[in-house]
């Protein structure tokens, strides 16, 4: 079992930095491409969602990302001190409505719910803690 821990600033430019570190980690750990792609997507959707929606005070915040390889898949933990938000409660949008409006609201969370299993959420001491497990076997 190997662990990657990253501290990210709450700005979109961080996506490139953590994307490179994550790709290197998954490659070094021999994570197969199909699983690595799903892990990258789940993490990017979680982190972008935090950056875009968790904060409304105009200040830069810190997001903690913890990725660990486990038997059967990869476990992901994302922590932030933004507004309380439980991603399990998000409802998948009606796709027809999204095409009619030309928007993608809720689609990222729908992707997370489809690609990850054991999605859990805790609110501890004013912090959001989301855990997801992406399995070798496609859900």
């Amino acid at each position: 079992m190997a662990i990657l821990r990253l501290t990210l600033a709450s700005r979109l430019a961080e996506i490139k930095r953590f994307g490179a570190a994550l790709a290197e980690f998954l490659d070094e750990e021999g994570v197969p491409p199909s699983l690595a792609h799903r892990v990258k997507l789940v993490i990017e959707e979680l982190v972008v969602n935090v950056i875009q929606h968790a904060f409304d005070d105009g200040r830069e915040h810190t997001i903690l990302l913890d990725v660990r390889t486990e038997p059967g898949g990869v476990a992901i933990v994302v922590e932030d001190d933004g507004k309380a938000f439980d991603p399990r409660r998000a409802r998948a949008p009606a796709l027809r409505d999204l095409v009619d409006t030309g928007k993608s609201g809720g689609l990222g969370l729908a992707m997370i719910q489809k690609l990850a299993r054991d999605l859990s959420y805790q609110r501890i001491d004013g912090r959001n803690r989301v855990r997801a497990f992406v399995a070798h076997r496609v859900p």
Partner: protein, 118 residues
């Protein structure tokens, strides 16, 4: 560069573009305006070749939806061509194939684009 938008010359009355690379949040912000300019703004059906796209996120899919909406309002359509591997999996995971036509060959894409106008 994460993403590249290639305009494919065509004699047909459709737009044809190819997306190459990663369509994540940063890439989407980089090419969104140009993508709409080369597809929806032309007011004719568009073939979007995804065969060389390696990665796509929900915001990238949102960009496709925005284009599809604009074209649909004008009685035109967008056809997604040649998605493979992870990109195809990601699109089908959330059901994009249920609302935007997919094609595996250029001939099929052209036919679907033509059918939308007839």
């Amino acid at each position: 560069m994460n993403i590249e938008l290639i305009v494919v010359p065509t004699s047909e009355n459709v737009s044809h573009v190819q997306l190459v690379g990663r369509l994540d949040v940063l890439a989407m912000k980089e090419i969104d305006v140009r993508f709409h300019g080369e597809t929806a703004a032309r007011e004719r059906s568009a073939i979007v070749d995804l065969s060389r796209l390696e990665f796509i996120t929900s915001l990238g899919i949102g960009m496709l939806f925005g284009c599809a909406k604009s074209l649909r309002r004008r009685g035109q359509t967008m056809v997604l061509l040649g998605s493979t591997g992870f990109v195809d999996t990601a699109l089908r995971t959330v059901g994009v194939h249920e609302v935007i036509p997919f094609a595996t060959t250029l001939d099929e894409a052209r036919r679907l684009a033509r059918d939308a106008r007839s």
